[in-house]
Symmetry: C2
Subunit: 203 residues, 2 copies
Amino acid sequence: MPDYKVYYFNVKALGEPLRFLLSYGNIPFDDIRITREEWPALKPTMPMGQMPVLDVDGKKVHQSIAMSRYLAKQVGLVGADAWEDLQIDTVVDTINDFRLKIGVVSYEPDDEVKEKKLVTLNNEVIPFYLEKLDDIARENNGYLANGKLSWADLYFTAILDYLNYLTKTDLVANHPNLRQVTLNVLDIDQIKAWVEKRPKTEI
Amino acid sequence: MPDYKVYYFNVKALGEPLRFLLSYGNIPFDDIRITREEWPALKPTMPMGQMPVLDVDGKKVHQSIAMSRYLAKQVGLVGADAWEDLQIDTVVDTINDFRLKIGVVSYEPDDEVKEKKLVTLNNEVIPFYLEKLDDIARENNGYLANGKLSWADLYFTAILDYLNYLTKTDLVANHPNLRQVTLNVLDIDQIKAWVEKRPKTEI
């Protein structure tokens, strides 16, 4: 088995899907958490100067969704064929669009602009995405694709705390099917064990 | 062979990678181009109310990168193994990050904000991404991953006109390795034939 290291800040956010997937597969990994003080010196050593980064036997790779798909192949959480993989990839990219739309408002530096954008985000964008995703979860019986567990479910559940933090809300509270996705993931023994033992962080 | 339809506006942009991939595989497809007048009535019939959409035997799917990966599997432009696919996925998601960073400035509605953001985009973001991507293309001998042709090369070449339009420049003019990627793609017989016969559009 390769030697895996996850490099990220001491937060869940975009690093957590990697940690969920490795934990799901009972794959040991170094969970390396970089402080804000350490980061400037380390940044030039990372591809694209960003994290999360996955180190596989000394080779560093980046892009959280691409890395998650790679790990999903290692732990058996991909689809049974190309069509099933397309359904998984589509919902993951949709979740990523949702995250980016939230992020662009949350990280808006101009307070006045931010207030204006928050209205559209809260009244239109968030309800639209949550309704669509809840529909997908209902049609798929509490999963996000193909009516069965896949890395899309782990991806969503792993980043949900981050999305909730950014939006200052519980996004799945009123969306029972989407909530069921997270319950299904958090009920998996290996995920339970990981959540129990991971460092406690707000984001 | 399934019956393929590509639904998009009469532009290259995010629909063009699908048209490149289908053309590469000599797969016939309906190239359906929706006018701005037709769009409002059609929008509710599209998943997530967006295009491009790919219709495969009557089933509509969305998300341009996910659809491109699916088509790449059909036409033999994926990697030889999971590691090679990771390299392809990573560079495609990096290109997508680049596109989003350009788009968020290009589509900024406030002129004053846009002027300010354009400085950072032109002086920092664009040079950074082009240098990184050119390095990757050099290391991979005129391709974007694994030293050989993959759907990443077709994806980049297909959306480059759109990126050039948004940035009002020729992004690869001073990046010979990245330019070589596009020359390699545009030199493929099936792509040449497609470029020759496709509707002529600026974007």
